[in-house]
Symmetry: C2
Subunit: 491 residues, 2 copies
């Protein structure tokens, strides 16, 4: 707490890294690329999990658990899946250690070599579809709507806390259906849920769209995604939902008998969000003083800081504070009363600002005399005195207001940083100056998309679902196009 | 559902295995020793998690997440820990696959060999204490009360669903304290919590005790445990809580400055329960018809089965059933209305019996005429007709009654199968006939304990915390002893 965070305007990346560490969200571990999610950071993730889990269950999904390990041969069963996932992954080759002959520590026992190597799951389609083969015989077994909360590992070379780590936590939904239409509806429904979660709980506006063929999930027919814009003008993919067609059913021979008794391959989807959402949440709203959390996901929504000299004063303040605390708790609002006598009020104010607690109440000896209380909001940093009787209703409406305000602020930012562009020169200029989302025409080919990426490092984030039909010319080739897509540099 | 389960009296082990599979709890996966926890089984585990998680949080613990991988060298840092855990474990040696030169599938890329092998965590003391070193400087940072829900891997040779699997799910608490006394109190508190959970939620009576030196956790000064008795007369260790002394603090150099400014090593505890509890739950109460679940952990507490001919009748029944369903839901009771027309009522009755749903309501056309409803309880299989207006209060009291009844039944079973024994001959005879818990005197040496184990396969399950001081002679050596310990053959 001794000195402030780096400023976003000076070094956005250093600001992010320092914020994640100082706000006690996460840190790097001794194992390269693997993070430790600290209690405060984890309590935010738990809030996300509980909201999402309820959304999944309300739409008929159940949780299950599938093995951490995947036999190496499974990865090769779906042709494009292996291209995408059988590259950078953790490979288990042995199952035993033994004492080192030199007496120092332990070594891998060469006699305990696995016949077939096991891969630590980078995603679970293969192991799940090999299981579904035994669960599905007839249309009566469908739809099968399963989700799993799990850890996965992808051996990333360059890692950043939450945004890109070798091990991360996520949920992966895997559903099986009797018709293509039903599977597509499921894919769209889950995108809708992700979008609602991002906007209503994370207070983070997102563009919903489809990925181009280039950016599709390995093994999918279609990948839908939600894309958010960060404060540095870069895009962040916050969730994906894949229509798998019959690809995995064919790879793992999963057939069902329809009502007429005919056998057909099952239609599949998969969809996921991960601890990457933590990175998005941090970057979407926070400022140079620290984290700004939406009340809907803040583990502590309100903190009460007593300003006191001596035990006697503290006890008088505690009495008043307790009334407010209990009234707030009864309304389902989480409150912390910070009575530490080892830190000054000023230290505490800075700490809760750093940790993004939405509302701070301060109660001192003079307030007791006057029957007042100071209420400060984290998002705008405004503070104001109220009659103590008004505290609870003020806090309640303030929490609603903050949730809405940070969404509006992020939406305004995105609108100001979304630019329509009609030439490649303009495209490059905008990218290198303000960044953000760029709406431009594209000729629909992977070749053009790749050339633009090579020259500018910008990718097509998505073809928005609500893109208007509008005749135009590809900014790169001049060929005809019917709608604009969203380009950006991305995390 | 076509034929019944094996009978417990004929083949207890086959009964267990079949029950786990047919009740949709879990199954083996293609990866040896790794299970798939199916949706219904997982929903029971989720109930357990949510109750335990609340108990942990109510006693001041927070969740966090630590890496899946442990550098090989970490395991060697605590001398006895390495003996216990650095044996049968999954070893990651490589981080990349590549296409096979013969064009068939993928192979491990020999160039992507890790400098230091990584172990998939068998338990996380080492990686967590290496992290705590940076989190703890002063007494102000203590106590540190952290829990993690995670998957762990121990390469077991002989595996059984839930009871012993290579990968399993668990929670592991890891706490750090400034004094030995406080750490011991924590160890005891967590044992108390596990005991309450087992008895009040699982309806499973347990003996609380301390392990002998032989059976202690590798790296602990003292291991406390809860031991339950299964219907086949074997014991099952259902949870452990370890007082680690300063062992891990010394191994990872974790010191704190006390209030006087002096440096000392931190005192630690760790404690855990796992998906093994699922095995205990299944074996504690179930019968030859299937699972018997305590209402406190049943995902579906009440099922309503309509007995109907044709859609019109179904709709009339649904109307009545819906009133009951909503009233039960309002009381926090989970209810399922099974309106499938693809299965007969008889099939459904057998299915819910197999799945252990505590209360079944049946509602037919005649019931509509008479204003009645049939209520059946799973534990005793009694059924009786009631006036439909009484349904909700009857169900409510029945759920309480079932919870108590299955606990009482298990307690009575344990009492009948706990035998005081004063000679080794008697000890062997009881073991080979009725089994169960045997209370006997023991001379307190590891040597005697091991000899008894070799000769009888029985181990000392624990030295009960409430064991009475009572002079006696060791059943094996005749040497003096001051209290009886609990022997049993165990899972
Ligand atoms: Zn997109
Ligand atoms: Zn014991």
């Amino acid at each position: 707490m001794s000195k402030g965070l780096p400023k976003r305007s000076e070094d956005y990346s250093a600001w992010y890294n320092e914020l994640v560490k100082r706000a006690d969200l996460a840190e790097n571990s001794a194992v390269r690329g693997c993070m430790v999610i600290k209690p405060y950071g984890f309590s935010i993730w738990e809030k996300m999990q509980s909201v999402l889990d309820k959304m999944f269950k309300d739409t008929g999904h159940s949780n299950a658990y599938f093995p951490l390990f995947i036999p190496k041969s499974y990865l090769s069963k779906e042709a494009s899946h292996v291209e995408g996932f059988a590259k950078e992954c953790a490979v288990v080759t042995h199952y035993r250690l033994k004492n080192s002959p030199d007496g120092k520590g332990v070594i891998v026992d060469p006699e305990a070599k696995l016949e077939e190597e096991l891969i630590v799951r980078p995603t679970s389609e293969t192991v799940i579809w090999s299981t579904y083969k035994n669960w599905i015989q007839s249309y009566r077994d469908l739809p099968l709507l399963v989700n799993q909360w799990a850890n996965v590992v992808r051996w990333e070379m360059r890692t950043r806390l939450f945004l890109r780590t070798a091990e991360f936590l996520w949920q992966e939904g895997h559903t099986a259906h009797s018709t293509s239409q039903e599977a597509i509806r499921e894919t769209e429904q889950m995108l809708e849920i992700y979008g609602n979660f991002a906007e209503q709980f994370m207070a983070m506006p997102v563009v919903k769209g489809k990925k181009t063929a280039n950016e599709r999930f390995a093994g999918a027919e279609d990948t839908y995604c939600i894309e958010a814009l960060m404060q540095d003008g870069k895009a962040l993919q916050a969730g994906t939902s894949h229509f798998l067609g019959q690809n995995f059913a064919k790879a793992f021979d999963v057939k069902f008998a329809n009502q007429a008794g005919q056998l057909d391959f099952v239609w599949g989807t998969s969809w996921g969000v991960s601890t990457r959402l933590m990175g998005a949440l941090i970057m979407a709203h926070s400022d140079d003083e620290g984290l700004v959390l939406p009340p809907a996901l803040a583990p502590i929504q309100v903190v009460i800081v007593p300003i006191f000299k001596g035990k006697e004063q503290l006890e008088l303040i505690r009495e008043k504070a307790d009334v407010i605390r209990k009234q707030l708790l009864a309304k389902g609002i989480s409150v912390k009363f910070d009575d530490r006598d080892t830190q000054t009020p000023g230290f505490k104010f800075a700490e809760y600002e750093l940790k993004g607690v939405p509302v701070r109440l301060a109660l001192g000896a003079r307030d007791l005399e006057n029957g007042t209380i100071e209420i400060a909001r984290r998002d705008t940093k405004e503070k104001k005195s109220f009659k103590i009787e008004e505290a609870v209703t003020q806090v309640e409406s303030l929490l609603t207001d903050i949730q809405q305000n940070i969404f509006n602020k992020a939406l305004k930012f995105r609108e100001e940083n979304t630019t329509k562009v009609d030439s490649f020169d303009e495209f490059v200029k905008i990218l290198d100056t303000k960044g953000g989302f760029i709406l431009a025409h594209w000729d629909g080919t992977s070749e053009t998309e790749e050339k633009i990426k090579e020259e500018t490092k910008a990718t097509i984030r998505c073809i928005p679902l609500d893109a208007k039909e509008e005749p135009g010319k590809c900014i790169y080739t001049g060929k005809p196009s019917t709608k604009r897509v969203v380009f950006a540099r991305a995390y």
